[in-house]
């Protein structure tokens, strides 16, 4: 007879060597994924950020090396950077506001039942599927008075004094890309909000109707609270995308006239690939990254406070 070690549920039986194995083994299995993520995401990110603290200018290949915060000091006193930052704010705020409210309206319309709903739903999604360069070109032409109808219509409505190209007017040029971006971005909000709307149980509306709620009260007291999580996440994502979204502006105005449509992402692009100053472009990119991180953090905190479901 040998004494048997008595084990009971809840009492760990692991030997010390097991402990190490349990600590290390999972990471061995995870390593292919971790290595892949590090290679394709972290390495470029770290290299990109490190450029911000170096002088990397292809036009001056000899003056390379670490420069500390020099790039950021230049940035602080760069008038063009502050202009681009202000423009980024208006570009993003203008685009997101119109995209969101028009998208929400469209989602509410699509959530009702009408004849030909499926066809309309499919059509609504189209702008999202058009390549951005194509839509940018199309909108640039639409705003051109020699070939496009828009300036003539705007003049006929009395919004413009005469049919001219607003993309050439420093005070109005930003409205061109914003209009194109609104057209381009509405489907995203419409489709995501429609999905959220369709997940609201119909019985809640029936209960509210019996409780005496009007259509507006049902919207504010049931629909909006249910949409809130989706609204928070989509607005955050879209804001970040739009702030980084250079295609439309680059094709339609190239940042002009007189830098009136220059946003940070187009400024980064021109600095890097026109002036070939990668160090300074990285510094601007790091500044934009920091701002967007702060924005996302604020929105996530707000979301946690406001959303109860």
């Amino acid at each position: 007879m040998t004494a048997r070690k008595i084990t009971a549920p809840g009492i760990p039986r692991a030997r010390p060597s097991f402990y190490l194995r349990y600590m290390v083994e999972p990471y061995v299995y995870l390593s292919p994924a971790l290595v892949l993520i590090a290679l394709v995401m972290l390495v470029p990110l770290v290299i990109g950020i490190s450029y911000a603290f170096q002088s990397v200018n292809l036009l001056r290949p000899i003056e390379t090396g670490w420069t500390g915060f020099d790039n950021f000091r230049t940035l602080w006193s760069d008038r063009k950077f502050w202009l681009a930052l202000t423009n980024t704010f208006w570009w993003t705020a203008g685009s997101i506001t119109f995209q969101f409210f028009l998208g929400l309206g469209l989602a509410l319309l699509l959530n009702t039942s009408f004849h030909g709903k499926r066809l309309v739903q499919a059509l609504v999604f189209l702008p999202w599927a058009v390549p951005t360069f194509l839509s940018a070109l199309t909108w640039a032409w639409l705003f051109n008075p020699t070939i496009g109808p828009l300036p003539h219509w705007l003049a006929a409505l009395g919004i413009l004094p005469e049919p001219f190209n607003i993309l050439g007017d420093p005070n109005l040029a930003m409205w061109g890309p914003i209009t194109a971006n609104v057209w381009f971005g509405i489907p995203f909000f419409a489709i995501t909000l429609l999905a959220a709307l369709q997940s609201i149980p119909g019985e809640l509306y029936e209960a509210a109707e019996i409780d005496g709620a009007s259509a507006w009260q049902m919207f504010t007291k049931i629909t909006l609270p249910f949409l809130a999580p989706m609204i928070a996440i989509t607005v955050m994502l879209r804001t970040i995308w739009i702030a980084n979204f250079a295609d439309l502006i680059f094709v339609m105005t190239g940042g002009g006239p007189a830098n009136s449509t220059q946003i940070l992402s187009t400024y980064i692009f021109t600095t890097a690939f026109r002036k070939l100053d990668f160090g300074y472009a990285s510094a601007i990119a790091v500044a934009l990254l920091g701002l967007l991180l702060v924005y996302a953090a604020v929105l996530l905190v707000l979301r946690r406070k406001l959303v109860k479901i």
Binding site: E206, A208, D211, G212, P225, I309
Partner: protein, 358 residues
């Protein structure tokens, strides 16, 4: 307080007629239960009363006033849904006070009413919780609380207990009965569970295939079912139906036994004899109407169910009170309580029975 009248109500979905000839008068303060199998239209009828479904034809009146076109919010009725339909983003107190919030009642009045209702339903300690943090029974109570707080002219219940477990269902049933005694408000209650119907109702409305089969007190339905459907739907276990042939001496069972009852006025060629399991008795051989063999004996403690096979008649279920010492395979001799036997015409309608030969 409301007296509800339904007159020739019909409901169509496009070309499909789901309900017709619904005529019903509900007295003020009455507890009416709509009962029937799934798809019989009982929930649709309730939703038409609530205003959630349009009424295709006929007139629906409350206290003499036509309500067909009145919006649900102006009908002054409270409804408890099967799924409870609590607002998941509002705490219990706000859920219960939602109708007052909508009507912009002063916050003091709102708080008082919610507190009273919460006290009645034993929810006082839960008022700050969200619905997701409640058990099924508690959610059910909140849904009832939301209805009580409104102080409506009528309560509508749409299968409110079907999502609860058996024990909780009995408890909530008592609670609803108590609520009705206390409030004395008109209540319309939809269920497919005949026990709920029999225990709660002042009057039961049995529906099948979109038509009212019978309206009556629970005892009416049990003792004088208007047709074979009601007879088989009300009462558990289900009534035995035996084919019989009316003759001069009484009705003739398939095995040749003559039972000393006959249909009253006219005598149809064939009819069905209905007898509830509790109105059949196991007796000594001499006084039996027919004999068979026990195929399955269920001992329930309070009762014993004997599934017997009777040659050329078929399967018969006998229910004896208390413990009955019988085993599978034993021979059984069965007698009918003749004054509790029903006869139904071939179309299912009740025939008045007369004791003795016709």
């Amino acid at each position: 307080m409301a007296r509800i009248e339904l007159q020739n109500i019909a409901k169509n979905y496009g070309p499909v007629e789901v309900m017709r000839d619904i005529n019903l008068e509900i007295e003020d303060g009455e507890f009416i239960v709509l009962v029937g199998p799934s798809g019989c239209g009982k929930s649709t009828l309730l939703r038409m009363i609530a205003g959630l479904e349009p009424i295709t034809e006929g007139e629906f009146r409350v206290d003499g006033r036509r309500m067909n076109e009145v919006q649900p919010r102006d009908r002054d009725m409270a409804m408890v849904f099967q799924s409870y339909a609590l607002y998941p983003h509002m705490d219990v107190a706000r859920n219960m006070g939602f109708s007052l919030e909508i009507r912009k009642a002063p916050s003091q009045e709102r708080a008082d009413k919610v507190r009273d209702a919460a006290k009645t339903l034993g929810l006082t300690s839960l008022t700050a919780r969200l619905p997701k943090a409640l058990s099924g029974g508690q959610r059910q109570r909140v849904a009832m609380g939301r209805a009580i707080v409104r102080d409506p002219s009528a309560f509508l219940f749409d299968e409110p207990l079907s999502n609860l477990d058996a024990a909780l269902r009995v408890e909530m049933r008592l609670e609803i009965a108590r609520l009705h005694q206390r409030l004395e408000t008109t209540m319309i209650y939809v269920t497919h569970d005949q026990v709920e119907a029999l225990t709660l109702a002042d009057r039961i409305v049995v529906l099948n295939a979109g038509k009212i089969q019978q309206v009556g007190t629970p005892l009416d339905l049990y003792e004088r079912p208007a047709n074979r459907f009601v007879a088989q739907f009300i009462g558990s276990p289900t009534m035995n139906i035996l084919e019989v042939e009316p003759t001069d001496k009484g009705v003739l069972l398939k095995d040749g036994t003559v039972i000393g009852i006959s249909p009253g006025a006219e005598r149809p060629v064939a009819c069905d004899l209905g007898v509830r399991p509790e109105h059949l008795n196991i007796v000594p051989q001499g006084s039996a109407h027919f004999s068979g063999k026990a195929e399955l004996v269920e001992h329930l403690g309070s009762d014993t169910n004997i599934h017997a096979h009777v040659p050329s008649i078929g399967q018969v279920l006998v229910r004896q009170h208390g413990h009955f010492p019988l085993k599978t395979g034993d021979p059984v001799h069965i007698a009918l309580e003749l004054d509790k036997v029903h006869l139904f015409a071939p179309d299912g309608q009740r025939l008045d029975t007369v004791l003795g030969s016709g």
